[in-house]
């Protein structure tokens, strides 16, 4: 062959083989909503109030409102201030968001009256660094935190308990699980709760399931919060999801009425993915979701595209839009669990870049699911980060002196809590007459990485046990008793303290988590007071000393040794 037409340079070949070229990218198509946030087809901001009611919203008269417009106009927007704040030029609001001298309180006051198009108009003026500046100030809770996924490809409860314990010890404030085989849920939810309370007393747990079962596990006190309550930005997609803003608002009250913390879930790209974006940009539709959540009175929102991240990730400026949607959630005074929870890219560099707009300014939960199990075991279809990234994450925290919610923990401590979690679960299963956990399984749990490292469970017996948990009406209180009876007094005490929290309702307030001392920390007693350099949350003191530690650091005193 002598043709040179198809010959490629060696360099092109090398570039062609880079992981980033396995990712998919598409051109924008704004007419159909396949566009991140800059679209000529989004409505212009407008608002008109008559007789105490909003009668025009973003160019649409009340008679033409779809149900999202209606719900937002009647529940989300402050009628008293709407006309006033919407009249402020967008550029002034955008600058105030970035300006440290403008207080968070003033900006949330303005935010309460803005229409979706106006909010979009404001954030469109901001570049990604400005978005991060604003996020630093607008995040509801002063102290940033992180959330983990703790799942098992085999739904193995021992694995979930051990990984929950390790995750809690590494610093995650919330742990979330879900199932391959849904019927396993009661056992895995118990394992998550027991393991979590071994790792660090006060960690909050969740099991993502269909609404009725998720609510039931919550009502029984086997889980502590709920999150997978999806909302969408267009009426047709909302209806396709078999819900309306009113049904979701009712569900929010149902959770609160049982003392259970809850947040909604939404994200850019879901509507266009389902083919019903009604010609609006992804961010405009997501802002409608955020205002819908606000209007429902839910304390928080998981957003940042979530399971549709491949869509904004493929269009120009998409990741900027994702950063902007997290900002808007925070600006609307909601707790924000900011994505970074789904497999995003083949490129490690791109995965990191996608993360920084949340990690650097800090959010209420930087990841709404950092995979604290290997991604192969991640039953949420894989996260942007997994167990292999722990040391990288810790190093980035140390390099840039930012708090991403995690810390390096020495192996002996990790092995110790993993063993204790597996032992505690073994005891709880024995007390509750559930299928036996063998010593061999406990031993495996201590040293395992993924589900393949554990002995096989008798799935049939486990499923019968899971059913009996539901039939017998086992509650969180039964777990406390079982732990206490079997000598795990401290774990029992931790769990009882978490359960007691639902009597006080303190965890229902915005951005609430529990500290190591079981003190609820929310946007009320830990309100973000960022006001420029030297203020707000600063990584210093004891916490900074913690984060200086890595797996391998050469000792200054004796350079022939390492400290860790």
């Amino acid at each position: 062959m002598t043709t040179t037409e198809n010959r490629r340079s060696r360099r092109t070949e090398i570039l062609e083989d880079r992981p980033v070229n396995l990712d998919g990218f598409v051109e924008e198509w704004p007419e159909k909503g396949l566009v991140a946030m800059e679209s000529d087809f989004d409505p212009q901001p407008s608002v008109r109030v008559e007789g105490g009611r909003i009668v025009e919203l973003d160019g649409r008269a009340r008679a033409d409102f779809d149900f999202m417009d209606t719900f937002i106009a009647d529940h989300a927007i402050d009628v008293e201030t709407a006309e006033e704040v919407n009249a402020i030029p967008s550029v002034e609001i955008a600058r105030a968001l970035v300006d440290p001298r403008a207080s968070r309180d003033e900006l949330t006051r303005i935010g309460r009256g803005l229409t979706p198009a106006k909010i979009l108009d404001v954030v469109k003026l901001m570049n990604v660094v400005e978005i991060m500046m604003a996020m630093q100030k607008m995040r509801a809770r002063r102290t940033p935190a992180n959330q983990a996924h703790s799942t098992s490809a085999k739904d193995n409860p021992i694995q979930v308990a051990a990984d929950a314990a390790e995750g809690a010890l590494r610093g995650f404030a919330e742990l979330e699980t879900t199932l391959g085989v849904v019927r396993y849920a009661p056992l895995v939810a118990i394992a998550l709760q027991v393991g979590g309370q071994v790792g660090r007393g006060g960690v909050l747990t969740q099991c993502a399931l269909e609404e009725a079962t998720e609510l039931e596990l919550g009502m029984r006190g086997i889980t502590a919060y709920a999150e997978t309550i999806s909302v969408y930005g267009t009426e047709s997609v909302f209806v396709d999801g078999d819900d309306t803003p009113w049904s979701k608002a009712f569900l929010a009250s149902a959770y609160a009425s049982r003392g259970i913390k809850m947040r909604f879930t939404s994200g850019t790209g879901s509507e266009v993915q389902m083919g019903n974006a009604e010609g609006r940009s992804m961010l405009y539709l997501e802002i409608r979701c955020i205002l819908m959540a606000k209007g429902a009175g839910v304390q928080g929102l998981q957003n940042g595209s979530i399971s549709c991240i491949g869509v904004p990730g493929a269009v120009p400026g998409g990741i900027r839009a994702v950063a902007a949607e997290n900002l808007v959630a925070s600006w609307m005074d909601l707790e924000c669990a900011s994505g970074n929870d789904q497999s995003f890219s083949h490129s490690a560099m791109r995965r990191t870049a996608r993360l920084l707009p949340q990690m650097l300014p800090g959010t209420d939960f930087v990841c709404s699911g950092y995979s604290a199990v290997p991604n192969a075991d991640n039953m949420f279809a894989g996260s942007n980060l997994d167990t292999e990234d722990f040391d990288d994450w810790n190093t980035i925290q140390r390099d840039l002196q930012v708090d991403g919610g995690l810390r390096h923990v020495r192996e002996p401590e990790i092995l110790q809590v993993r063993e204790k979690a597996a032992r505690a679960l073994q005891a709880v299963f024995a007390e509750l007459d559930l299928p036996r956990i063998t010593d061999e399984e406990v031993e495996a749990a201590v040293y395992a990485n993924g589900s393949g490292d554990y002995p096989e469970r008798d799935v049939l017996e486990d499923l019968k046990g899971a059913q009996s948990v539901m039939d017998r009406g086992v509650t969180g209180l039964d777990l406390v008793k079982a732990l206490e009876r079997s000598g795990f007094h401290d774990v029992a005490e931790n769990l009882l303290t978490v359960l007691r929290q639902r009597v006080s309702g303190d965890l229902l307030q915005t951005s609430a988590i529990l500290t190591d001392d079981f003190v609820p920390l929310s946007a009320i007693n830990d309100a973000n007071d960022y006001g420029g350099p030297g203020s707000g949350y600063r990584l210093q003191g004891e916490r900074w000393e913690q984060l200086k530690k890595l797996r391998h650091v050469t000792s200054a005193e004796d350079p022939e040794t390492e400290v860790s």
């Binding site: 024995a430 007390e431 007459d433 299928p435 036996r436 008798d458 799935v459 049939l460 499923l463």
Partner: protein, 605 residues
Amino acid sequence: MTRRLVVGVDIGNSTTEACVAAVSGTSVEYLGTALTHTTGVKGTPDNTDGAVAAVRRALDRAGHTESEVETVLLNEATPVISGLAMETISETIITESTMIGHNPATPGGEGLGVGTTVAIDALSGASGPTIAVVGPGWDFDDVATELNAATDRGLEVVAAVLAHDDAVLVVNRLRAPIPVVDEVGAVEKVPLGMRAAVEVAPPGRTIRTLSDSYGLASVFELDPDQTKHVSPVARALTGNRSAVVVRTPSGDVTDRRIPVGTLTLRGAGKTLQVDVDAGAEAIMEVLGRVQPLDDATGEAGTHVGGMLAQVRDTMTDVTGQPAAEIRIRDVLAVDTFVPKEVRGGLAGEVAPENAVALAAMVRTSRSRMQVVADEVAAALGCRAEIGGVEGEMAVRGALTTPGTAIPIAVLDLGGGSTDAALLDRDGVSSAVHVAGAGELVTKLIGSELALDDREQAEAVKRYPLAKVESFFHVRHEDGTVQFFPEPLPSHVFARVVTMTPEGPAPVATRHSVDHVRRVRREAKRKVFAVNAVRALQQVAPGGSLRMLDFVVLLGGSALDFEIPDLIADALAGYGVVCGIGNVHGSEGPRNAVASGLVDAHVAGA
């Protein structure tokens, strides 16, 4: 007279039952019962947790608290451990790729084609009757084009063998149809340039020529000696709808026995040996000659040896008794078959190979129930005592079944062992445990149906079968049809299902309902009907079942929908009244021992 709260607890192999009663004087009022899994091996201190849980749960149901309990009564439980093993004892081997005997779902064409094997891309050089051999990667359109072209050139293509599932597609595109066998995964191993025959029967029929020794002799012009040699081939192909036979210089199909070890049985002053590959009948016959069995050992280094050693080790772990003191007191051997891939096969042919399943049972004299009693007493803050031997208690409980009288025998159909006990007219009771029960049935069903999921095997054992014929109706195994107002879930559509309480559950099999049902009933019969007779013979006066009047079935398997009938059938010839226990006229076959303990306690007080 004071009212005392007494709880009887029966620790069984797999379940622990508790029964709460209020006792005043000699009157007993039963207040509530509960059932939990037995924790640890029966008769060991690990049982405490399960016993305490069962007591608490029964109290809960009866509306009483721990502090009110006066006495907990436990049974004297003999630790019984059963082990299961299954060994394949036959093997089919094809050498030199002589034969393709699998049953593709859709072969093509019909009839017999005899010729020389030639690769499809070498057809242009071929002559005479030819069988085309087509490898993977060939598209069906291209195969048909090639074959048509060869025929047009005048080549006599009489049959074809294909790698892919393309037979119907190819035949539909040929100008003259020929028999075609497809889905031959290892088609590249078909010897080329050899005389061969391909036969395909019409739908619903089986082949005639290649499954017959003289048919093969005619096709390949064999002499009588050679014909003897090919008869295994004919046998192996019987019942197939399609087949390929290639005549090679020393090709063969053999069926050989696999030595899997020797079982040594000692008892009645004798020590006898039997090869496990001799089959169940031979093993049980030898066992009968050494009754009562003192011990059984397997030849070291063989599978049988390994299995028996493992049972012994487990017993050592739980009792602390040295391995040398542990005795295997019973063995049940059952003939079964296991579908296995044929060695040397080209298309993943599967043959049902013979296998022997063995259940072995160990007992120890060293029960540690006193430790359990002490721990239960400490946990509940009450008295706990050993109230009686379980066999006697079971009989006593069974006697409360309306319509029974002494002499009475009970059969407790458990998970690991089948137990029998007898109370004779003199008030003397005796009891026996024999190896093999519900778990062995599950294993037989699982292996014969090649279910790799124990949950499904368990479901086949427990629930009747049906075929889902549409989204709105099923046909039960007895032929009756049941309609449903709401559509059935889509994952059961067109499948053989078990009718579980939660609804139909699919069975991963291509077998018919009839076949699955036959396997299920046969497995139950081979274990429970056989063991019922074996166990009762050991307690019956003079070993004669005719001396028994009443036999009461107890335990979880007594609730099975057909096992009681199978046992009743097996006992029918001996003039025995056999039925399901109904303890206190209300508890069914459950709680006999637990309530027997309470009754004995009251009678003795």
